[in-house]
């Protein structure tokens, strides 16, 4: 309690509140512009927050992400294009309602359930994180090695599309962490005589490249289309909201939980949370036939889940230092650069940071409604801002941000290379998220493995000797064997099918002979 008051005192200062307000506006703007994602917003915000104290810096990121994920619903409802991938699950549904003249109602529901979902995620974060931290206190390098393995495996397993490409993405991320001085002998690896490489790839420029530059490349490479925006009747936006909330209160609770737990899974964030909540909603709905024709139920579910996922993602990030989504991955990378190692120790050493995150989460979701209504009113204007004017500005910000961290143009080069790489990866269906987790966790994985091996004189069984470590190890092995079992089963089914086909074919052959 005392800590919460301290944290509140840290947050409720004019300077921090001003930063929260500015990041709220920034988040709403970025979220509402299709083609600019919340992860990109984080990558662009990081060079600024890097030079702030941890409390306002984290407050800025937490507020920004809550706002951006909601604001993604605005273009979804108005022009049928999701503002961020997290709103993609229900754009058709929202747009169908807009065409019935209910744009105001949809967005009113969106902003309300987003705030409720965000609060559910925040409350679970506040309750769950300290409990898990107690457990995590006992962890040694053995457990951290397995945790890193589980985190990385999850990030591959949850990728949409090909697992193989998810794995390649992860390997690219891990390979990037190999550059620099190694832990065992201090030997400079893959530096090729470049002094800037001794500390490895600079994290922030790499992130700006992968999320900022690649996004700018994608945006300028397609035609700038003018959206046909209809205005929103905001006056009676909230009439009928309470009836809707009351009717779907169980949906909200269920999707809040689904969203939060998907958020906790490493690598799976708000977008996957929304898709799952939408699918679950349709499956258990009394009126599944109405889905896709402009039915509010699915929007309530998915809109709650994506904001709830944000709080969930911070649970493993704060407790174990394992990111729950791309945004927390960037945050962890930056905390590392600032010498703050997320993990159970921050619960003891710098609890104010932790409580500041909690307090901001609550505050951000409370101010989401007034700020959100403002954004809905300005929605059609925001969509009229030409992209071709925004992209050069974003590009300049990327370059300055990368330069600012270490004051060297070398980092701008890192940004350029990472940007081109991320662009090619996405163009070839290789997801970027596993690579980010790889970059963040690669060093932890290698360092903890090497330390354990040297401690135990290269006896691999030590990874299974401690009980917790053994359990985590078994979970990892199960996760790894999952895809192989699936492939094996499919193969057996194919063989059986082929057999069955052969049997049905054989009599004919006999007839012929």
């Amino acid at each position: 309690m005392e800590n919460i008051l301290t944290a509140a005192a840290l947050i409720f200062q004019p300077y921090v509140l001003m930063i929260i307000a500015i990041s709220a506006l920034y988040g709403l703007f970025v979220g509402a512009i299709p083609g600019l994602t919340a992860t990109m917003a984080t990558a662009l915000l990081v060079p600024v927050t890097f030079f702030m104290d941890p409390v306002p810096a984290l407050a800025a990121i937490v507020t920004m992400e809550a706002m951006a994920i909601f604001a993604g619903d605005i273009p979804g409802a108005l022009v049928r294009i999701p503002g961020t991938p997290s709103s993609a699950a229900y754009v058709d549904e929202s747009y169908a309602l807009t065409q019935k003249g209910q744009a105001g109602f949809v967005l009113g529901v969106d902003v309300t359930v987003a705030a409720i979902g965000g609060l559910i995620g925040a409350i679970i974060l506040i309750l769950l994180a300290p409990m898990l931290a107690e457990v995590a206190m006992q962890f040694t390098s053995f457990e951290y090695f397995w945790l890193a393995c589980i985190g990385l495996s999850c990030s591959v397993l949850v990728t949409k599309g090909s697992l193989l490409k998810g794995l390649i993405s992860l390997l690219i991320g891990l390979a990037m962490t190999q550059v620099g001085v190694d832990i065992t002998l201090g030997y400079p690896r893959f530096t090729f005589g470049v002094t800037e490489f001794l500390n490895g790839f600079t994290f922030i420029p790499a992130m700006i490249g992968m999320f900022g530059v690649s996004e700018v490349m994608r945006n300028v490479s397609s035609e700038d289309c003018a959206y046909d925006v209809t205005g929103v009747q905001t006056r009676k936006m909230f009439s009928g909201i309470f009836k809707t909330l009351k009717r779907y209160k169980l949906n909200i609770a269920r999707s809040g939980l689904i969203g939060t737990f998907v958020g906790i899974l490493p690598g799976a964030g708000a977008d996957i949370g929304a898709w799952i909540a939408y699918a679950v909603s349709k499956k258990f709905s009394k009126e599944p036939g109405k889905y896709g024709t402009g039915h509010i139920e699915g929007i309530v579910d998915a809109g709650t889940a994506n904001n709830a996922a944000l709080g969930g993602a911070w649970v493993p990030a704060l407790v174990f230092g394992i990111p729950g989504d791309s945004i927390t991955a960037i945050v962890i990378g930056v905390l590392f650069m600032k010498g703050l190692r997320p993990g159970p120790m921050i619960f003891q050493q710098t609890p104010e940071i932790l409580y500041a995150v909690y307090v901001t989460f609550i505050l951000a979701n409370l101010i989401l409604i007034p700020f959100g209504v403002m954004a809905i009113k300005a929605g059609s204007q925001m969509l009229r801002v030409p992209r071709n004017m925004l992209m050069p500005a974003i590009l300049m910000f990327c370059m300055v941000g990368s330069f600012a961290i270490n004051n060297t143009v070398f980092d701008v080069g890192v940004m350029l290379v990472c940007g081109i790489m991320a662009y090619f990866m996405e163009a070839n269906d290789i997801p970027v998220a596993p690579a980010i987790l790889g970059i963040v966790l690669g060093r932890l994985l290698e360092d903890s493995f090497m330390v354990c091996m040297i401690k135990s004189d290269w006896d691999l069984t030590v990874f299974f000797q401690r009980p917790v470590s053994a359990v985590l190890g078994v979970i990892t092995v199960i996760l790894w064997s999952g895809p192989f079992i699936a492939v094996f089963r499919k193969w057996r089914r194919d063989v059986k099918d082929a057999d069955a086909e052969n049997k049905t074919c054989r009599p004919n052959i006999d007839d012929v002979t």
Binding site: S222, P386, P392, L395, F424
Partner: protein, 152 residues
């Protein structure tokens, strides 16, 4: 811009082979156990497996080896992209000579004109963005920008 799975797979295998060859020069630990070379080697082997997987997928889908599908990318889109990349290269080589204020204004103006933004909007935006970045980094966050020969 898509290339075939086979090509990506072959590239990964080649890359991994170079890594495996390069790590031979890394020192090992005193008692002969692998040290700095261990993780890069493991990653390289995994890259090779993935590369083989992609090549097999590519053959199964009967892809052309060097499919070069630009997809929805038009010529003007490609030029825009090259222009953006060129801007970053210019920043690397010129920003520290010219100085941030001039560089930023000029580059933003040229880029916006290239992307067919109206002249007046371009001038207003370029000035505005340059000043905002200048105030934010140099005055609020006190982070040095590339100052150039004339100090601005």
């Amino acid at each position: 811009m898509r290339v075939s799975n086979t090509a990506i797979g072959l590239f990964l295998i080649l890359f991994a082979a170079v890594v495996l060859w390069h790590v031979q020069s890394f020192p090992s630990l005193d008692n002969g156990y692998p040290g700095p070379a261990l993780f890069p080697s493991v990653l390289a082997v995994l890259f090779i497996f993935c590369g083989i997987g992609l090549v097999i997928q590519g053959f199964r889908q009967r892809e052309k080896l060097l499919k070069f599908d630009t997809g929805t990318l038009t010529l003007s889109g490609l030029l825009n992209m090259l222009f953006v990349l060129g801007t970053i290269v210019c920043y690397i080589f010129l920003a520290e000579t010219i100085g941030f204020l001039i560089f930023s204004f000029a580059v933003l103006l040229i880029l916006m004109k290239w992307l067919k933004v109206k002249t007046i909007s371009s001038i207003v935006m370029s000035t505005g963005v340059t000043l905002i970045i200048y105030l934010l980094f140099a005055k609020v966050l006190l982070v040095p920008l590339p100052w150039g020969l004339w100090g601005w």
